[in-house]
Amino acid sequence: MLKVEGLHTEYVDERGHSVKAAHNVSFEVPEGKLFTLLGPSGCGKTTTLRSIAGLEKPVSGEVSVNGRVVYSSAKGIFVAPNKRNFGMVFQSYAIWPHMNVFQNAAFPLKVGSRKLGKGEVHEKVMRVLKAVGLDHLADREATKLSGGQQQRLALARALVMEPQLWLLDEPLSNLDAKLRERMRFELKRLQRDLNLTTVFVTHDQNEALALSHEIAVMNEGRIVQIGSPRDIYERPHNRFVADFVGSANFLDATVTAREEQRDYFVAQTALGPLKCYSVDPLQAGDKVVISLRPEDVHLSAAHPNMPNVWEAVVDSKIFLGDHVEFQVKIGDVVLLSRVHPSFFPADGTSVYLGMQPAKCLAIAAN
């Protein structure tokens, strides 16, 4: 469906230097799937999205949708954004303040080459407004909408033209936390119901994990890993991905031996030998980083029945309602652990710390 190949972008900053924003970005999004570009600010994800939209012109590469090339540096093709028929939702929603809800949503049907009758426009607009639950507010001034309603209107406006591609630029980041969680579900429902091929940009890993069929994690203008949400979370290819997607504990280690079980190894860490897991064929002597999610660091008062158990001292803790975060110390090593609030030892108490080898992910150090 959407195919992006070898995209390079540059922009000129305020001092007139050209800055590289995206390097050799390539990916494909199959029909009806939601593809997320995830990364910290300045990683080039928004630039990539805007290049797909045609709002920015890349230096080189090719973008095609359903075999229709909309940009190609080699063939000298650049289709203007208003001729691409992509729906886009902006971070600020970009609701036009001088139009009411209906007029905002109807705008895409009244411009460009589409010539629709009044009745047809009305029908289409009301259909999308109904889909986002705004049909009863059609006559309201756009500026009188709440944040969540503006958000929905922006979604509706990007849908009304029945776009080939739906582009979402951090659409949820301006909402408060509660509303954001609710809109996440609505967005997912809309996308799945209408089977829209979607590119979604966000810096929020939870959003990415919750919504996507596939995620591309970007850093410094490059895609560092593409995979399903589970893959990205459970099998990060490198330290950046492990760190950015969810918080992680890291232990520097050297592989000492291969376990009998396939893909399991023993590595020497600051804590001593640790059983760990890796999909890469590691050799003894390889330098690795062990990545471990806080929720996979188990704490207990009694000695648990699992490998990789150490005695640790509670250094400090934060109560967060549905869980408690502990900082525990084993010698000089500090590990972050997330446990159920029923376990609540005082600071300075000795506890047992256990780590499942399958969750101790060895990533090749670079």
Binding site: L55, G76, A80, N82, M88, W96, R114, L167
Partner: protein, 581 residues
């Protein structure tokens, strides 16, 4: 902004050559040509004329340095230069001191009647300089001035207390007239300063004077200097005060000398051009320094945007003094000038207010004005000129501002500067330059309303730029981009999205330009001919004829009309939530 540039570059690169001729490029091209034609051509002709002898039927223009030689070797010019500087510096300092004191009272103290301070923003718009000057002649002239007569009556002497026909009189009237402007700029400066900077000094143990001296003054220093410069430039450009007060007393400055050189027979256009170039150099340096300072000023002033108003200093009993100062100021700047005009407009022949004169009140001057032969025509001309000038400027500058704000086209800074160039032209120099231009470039506009329209368009172009830039900056780029993503072409986006969003700022700017152009005198005075008079020219003619009471009647009606216009502007600005530019 980034995207827009990429967009334009992109369309340029990808499409064939014929695609460049679409609406956007046509509009951009026309706007650029319009700006260049308006602001550059007159300047070139002014410079050219200053180096040539006048062209006559028998003799072609020849290159000469004679104009400059005449101008710069004469001791009169030295005096002229000295007078101009003295007048402008004096007026600037006087206006600044009064304006700053008022701004400080309003922003930082608990002076009573604070709600009246807003009036200061509109006074200079309502009372045109020529009427203000005339009313001060009626107040301060040695023979008929009411202030002199009253004081002489009280002290029972023949001593002239106050002679308005003097350098000090000129500085007094000019400085007073520009003090509201100083007030507005200094108020902005006080407001843009984070009050916590002053409060932390206070908490460190500094007293009120130490805070004012070491913090407030030091922080507002760039604003102070910039304000002084702009007041200096405005005063040195001013025509009305030097012409009405200076010329009778034999005090010449550049603007009045240009007027005299043109109105001599035969008129000395070359010499006037030389004066014009000199004056232009002075104002250019002033405006340049001022804009440098203003851009640097942001380094000093720290806008927090939190809108914390500083705690007002409690003046205690002194607040009655500041209130008295404010009341006296209002008397001098509005009440007395307007009342004296009103009084004079109700007399058959001008006479000093007295019980006898009170019995002779008449509406005759108003009847005279309504039957005055050129009045209907001049009102029509003024209205026509100001409406068309405001409309054209706001539309053209909306495109120009779109180019300078939203695109990254190379050379857009040049466009911005060119469109702001007329700001350095003193009104009378602009009139002179345009007069010269169309004398030589004969396309049939000379002596018609068109030449005045062209002059107004040039003169007020920078105002349009200022208003449209402010509102253009507030339009988030995503509003435009989402229209493009919806499939709208550039023309569609501009018409359906940009223009409606600019509308509040455009309406405010439009009314402002109507107000300033309807009272324009110093440019029109060199360009009008019988049949193309405007209102301010009729006032000028009535003054020249000595018809004071009739002038007063026209003046009173003019002030009331301007008052209604300004109220309308305020209403619009309030409705759309626009801050005064």
């Amino acid at each position: 902004m980034q995207s827009a540039s990429n967009l334009t570059n992109a369309t340029l690169a990808s499409a064939g050559w014929w695609r460049r001729l679409d609406l956007k490029w046509a509009l951009i091209g026309v706007s650029v040509a319009f700006v260049v034609y308006l602001s550059v051509m007159p300047l070139i002709f002014l410079l050219w004329q200053s180096f040539f002898t006048p062209q006559t039927a028998s003799q072609a223009a020849e290159f000469t340095l004679g104009n400059y030689a005449t101008a710069y070797t004469s001791s009169d010019t030295a005096k002229l230069f000295f007078n101009s500087l003295r007048f402008a510096t004096g007026s600037a300092i006087f206006a600044f001191l009064v304006g700053t004191l008022l701004a400080w009272m309003n922003e930082r103290t608990n002076t009573p009647f604070k709600s009246l301070f807003f009036a200061l923003a509109i006074i200079p718009l309502i009372i045109p300089s020529i009427l203000f000057t005339v009313s001060w002649i009626l107040l301060g002239s040695p023979k008929i001035g009411i202030i002199n007569l009253a004081l002489q009556h009280v002290f029972d002497t023949q001593y002239v207390f106050f002679n308005i026909y003097s350098m000090w009189g000129m500085i007094w009237v000019e400085g007073l007239h520009y003090s509201p402007m100083a007030f507005l700029i200094m108020t902005a400066a006080f407001r843009s300063m984070d009050p916590s900077l002053e409060e932390s000094a206070m908490m460190s143990g500094a007293n009120i004077f130490q805070v004012a001296w070491t913090i407030t003054l030091k922080l507002t220093w760039p604003a102070i200097f910039a304000t002084l410069l702009i007041l200096f430039v405005r005063s040195i450009e001013s025509f009305e005060v030097p012409a009405l007060l200076g010329l009778p007393a034999g005090i010449q400055v550049f603007t009045s000398s240009i007027y005299q050189a043109i109105h001599k027979y035969p008129s000395q256009v070359g010499l006037a051009a030389t004066y014009g170039v000199t004056l232009l150099l002075i104002t250019t340096v002033g405006v340049y320094l001022q804009s440098r300072l203003s851009s640097q000023g942001s380094k000093y002033s720290t806008m927090t945007g939190k809108g914390f108003r500083p705690r007002a200093v409690d003046l205690g009993r002194w607040r009655y003094l500041t209130a008295a100062f404010f009341i006296a100021y209002l008397l001098l700047i509005v009440a007395l000038p307007f009342l004296v005009l009103l009084w004079s407009s109700l007399q058959k022949f001008y006479s000093v207010p007295s019980w006898d004169a009170l019995h002779n009140l008449t509406l005759a001057p108003y009847r005279f004005i309504f039957s005055y032969p050129t009045i209907a025509r001049s009102v029509w001309n003024s209205v026509l000129l100001s409406l068309s000038c405001a409309t054209v400027i706001m539309l053209v500058t909306s495109v120009i501002c779109w180019i300078t704000v939203k695109t990254k086209l190379p050379g857009r800074w040049l466009l911005d500067n060119l469109a702001s160039l007329p700001m350095v032209f003193p009104g009378i120099v602009l009139g002179l330059a345009i007069m010269i231009f169309y004398l030589y470039f004969d396309i049939g506009v000379y002596g018609t309303l068109w030449i005045i329209l062209i002059a107004y368009l040039t003169r007020f172009l920078p105002y349009g730029i200022r208003y449209n830039t402010t509102s253009m900056l507030q339009i988030h780029k995503e509003l435009e981009e989402s229209a493009a993503m919806s499939g709208a072409s550039w023309g569609h986006t501009f018409r359906r999205i940009i223009l409606p969003l600019l509308k509040p700022g455009m309406v405010a700017g439009w009314i402002y330009i109507v107000i300033v152009s309807i009272r324009e005198l110093s440019t029109s005075i060199l360009l009008y001919s019988p049949g193309t008079e405007v209102i301010s020219i009729v006032i000028w003619e009535l003054w020249e004829n000595g018809q004071y009471v009739e002038l007063s009647a026209l003046g009173v009606m003019f002030i009331l009309a301007l008052f209604c216009l300004v109220m309308l502007a305020q209403f619009v600005a309030k409705k759309y939530g626009i801050k005064e530019a």
